[in-house]
């Protein structure tokens, strides 16, 4: 698996003013996501606490951690599905507090879901076109009477949608119902739908779940390709360490709602606390 990373030089990571890692190439730009002391309580439980993270403009970042660590909760906080109890999120320098999830999407955060959430009864292309919808101006009058503006928009949407489907070579299944697609294609479609909303940062929640090694390898290439073509940041939650270590430039490790380690893949691989969180203490092994 390690050969996936062959052609890609290791990113040099630097420490920006807010004291977290971002790639050196993004140093002179505003970080796309600047999260400070984010936290949420569910009753007495601090599900996420003191979550501080900065993501560079074109960084591929990873969020890992054992089951139940609060990774998906972080995604839900970033997209305001849950309202944070503490802390602030700056998207490209703008605070996202108090915004509705759809407004967050318009501001530039798009996401996929751990359990795939497609518009199952709609066709593949319509799923993408829903995502593209925000990019065209069309009022109810245009929609009801199919004015020239509607026709112009629709033509443009179709072209753009096929262009996007082309990324994953899904043009020939454009007219199928999304719910009838095989699992892997559904995951790819979800990524395309998120991309269609023109995000500044794409949040992928376990994109490789349920994929075999060759599909995972393909996915890795695609994630990189998406970053390079669209010049966006990507943050992903993943349990597949080959994928995480292979493409992520910065990794944050979450355990019991707290970040226990941050760094490059090499840092994380050798981090005692991380190994402990995943496998348990070394002493225990000796005693046993």
């Amino acid at each position: 698996m390690s050969n996936f990373n062959k052609n890609y030089p290791k990113t040099k990571m630097i420490v920006p003013p807010s004291n977290t890692l971002i790639p050196e190439r993004d140093a002179d730009k505003l970080p796309v996501l600047d999260v400070r002391n984010l936290g949420i309580d569910f009753g007495g439980l601090k599900a996420v606490d003191n979550f501080t993270l900065t993501i560079g403009k074109t960084e591929i970042a990873g969020l890992i951690g054992p089951n139940g660590a609060g990774k998906t909760t972080v995604f839900n906080l970033l997209t305001n599905v849950y309202k944070p109890t503490r802390g602030a999120i700056l998207l490209d320098g703008e605070p996202t507090a108090g915004k509705e999830p759809y407004e967050i999407n318009k501001m530039g955060i798009a996401r996929t879901f751990q359990n795939i959430r497609l518009f199952n009864e709609m066709t593949v292309i319509d799923n993408v076109k829903v995502g593209l919808g925000g990019s065209v101006k069309e009022n109810l009058f245009d929609a009801l009477f199919h004015t020239p503006r509607y026709r112009k928009n629709e033509k443009m949407l179709n072209e753009k949608a096929y262009e996007l489907l082309g990324i994953f070579g899904m043009e020939d299944i454009a007219k199928l119902k999304a719910g009838n697609l095989p699992y892997g294609a559904q995951r790819r479609l979800e990524i395309l739908r998120a991309l269609a909303t023109k995000p500044k940062i794409l949040l992928l929640d376990e994109p490789a779940a349920g994929m075999n090694p060759s599909e995972t390898a393909e996915l890795m290439e695609n994630i990189r390709r998406i970053r390079d073509t669209f010049n966006i940041a990507i943050m992903l939650i993943e349990h597949d360490m080959n994928l995480v270590m292979g493409i992520c430039e910065g990794i944050a490790v979450l355990n019991f709602g707290q970040i226990i380690a941050k760094g490059t893949p090499d840092d994380i691989k050798n981090n005692e606390t991380v190994i402990e969180a995943y496998l348990g203490r070394k002493e225990n092994k000796k005693n046993a």
């Binding site: 065209v136 009801l144 095989p182």
Partner: protein, 349 residues
């Protein structure tokens, strides 16, 4: 892997435009009115058929508009008749006022009244929409049900609506023969508008909300806005149906627009298939014509409705039925025959 899936239908292109499902829908509606008006204006139709012309049109309008809410938006609304009553009262009142003050002819008065009735119903749709649309599923159904009953009771207890005796519309009463062109126009325009809406960015957003609310909001769709829009638009069409209804009767009574009527419309929508405009049109026609044709079993109508609903649910969701439907699909059948023909031709060579 993805490229292995091929759409079997694409191999045999049959004139796409002709078999387009929207074209068929519009064709069915236009054909229905063409036949119906020919029968009526050549006086071949019986009195019963003549009297039913406006009722059927109103029910088609109600069914397609409720289908917007139930089929496209995916929310259960049990108070649709209330919007119709609001439209009927406000439109008829405007029509009476216009007739008495300016003696305006029907061809200006009725369209004006329809738009006015529709707009008043829209306002009610928005008023009920704002608090209600934060609710989902069962809760929304219960509140819309209550809304329908409240509107009915308020109208009964107001003075200017004529109270329980009903609102006297003898002045604006028009014969079915006079009203049919307006009814046909209202139905055809509504069907066209709904089809257009469904194919637009807004229509896709509405269906997206139905399919997955969380994903829809994560994809930049303002769920509250679209819910409100659908409620308002659907109320407008229901209001127009109400105005038409008001002009075809000599008195309108609020008690008619009760829970039973809302359910009757819902039955039409479910029977026709949720999300299918064509289905709603056909089911509305059938469910209005059949009771007249089967007068003898009129007592059992509600019983037959419920049985039909259960059968329809089975037909829509049971896998065996789904397979059967695939088989009976017109398009697939045509493709099948065409393929067989080609195969035969190939063998001969």
């Amino acid at each position: 892997m993805a490229t292995q899936i091929n759409k079997p239908l694409e191999k045999t292109p049959i004139s796409k435009k002709l078999l387009n499902k929207d074209t068929i829908t519009v064709f069915i509606v236009v054909a229905f009115y063409a036949v119906y008006s020919t029968l009526i204006y050549t006086n071949t139709a019986g009195r019963q058929m003549l009297n039913m012309a406006i009722t059927i049109s109103c029910y088609i309008l109600m069914a397609v508009s409720l289908n917007l809410v139930v089929g496209f938006l995916g929310e259960l609304s049990l108070g649709h008749a209330a919007f119709m009553s609001v439209g009927a009262y406000s439109g008829s009142m405007l029509s009476v006022a216009l007739l008495q003050s300016t003696a305006m002819p029907l061809y200006i008065r009725l369209p004006l009244a329809m738009i006015f009735g529709g707009l008043v119903a829209t306002i009610f749709g928005i008023i009920i929409g704002i608090p209600v649309l934060r609710l989902n599923g069962d809760y929304l159904a219960i509140v819309t049900l209550a809304f329908g009953e409240i509107v009915k009771n308020v109208i009964i207890n107001l003075d200017f609506t004529g109270g329980a005796i009903g609102y006297d519309t003898k002045a604006i009463y028009s014969t079915p023969k006079a009203l049919l062109p307006y009814a046909a126009a209202a139905v055809i325009i509504s069907v066209l508008l709904i089809i257009n809406l469904a194919k637009s960015k807004h229509g896709r957003a509405i269906t997206a909300v139905r399919d997955n609310k969380i994903a829809a909001s994560a994809t930049g769709i303002n769920i509250t806005y679209y819910k409100l829009m659908v409620f308002a638009f659907s109320a407008f069409i229901a209001g127009v149906a109400g105005v038409l209804w008001g002009h075809s009767l000599s008195i309108i009574k609020a008690a008619k627009f009760d829970f039973n009527m809302s359910i009757e419309i819902l039955v039409i929508v479910v029977l026709g298939g949720m999300g299918s405009i064509r289905g709603s049109v056909i089911a509305a026609i059938l469910l209005k014509v059949l009771p007249e044709a089967l007068r003898a079993v009129d007592d059992y109508r509600m019983l037959i409705y419920s049985l039909l609903l259960i059968l329809m649910m089975l037909f829509n969701s049971a896998p065996q039925f789904a397979k059967l439907r695939e088989k009976l699909n017109i398009k697939n059948t045509l493709v099948y025959f065409k393929n067989r023909k080609e195969k035969k031709g190939g063998n001969v060579e």
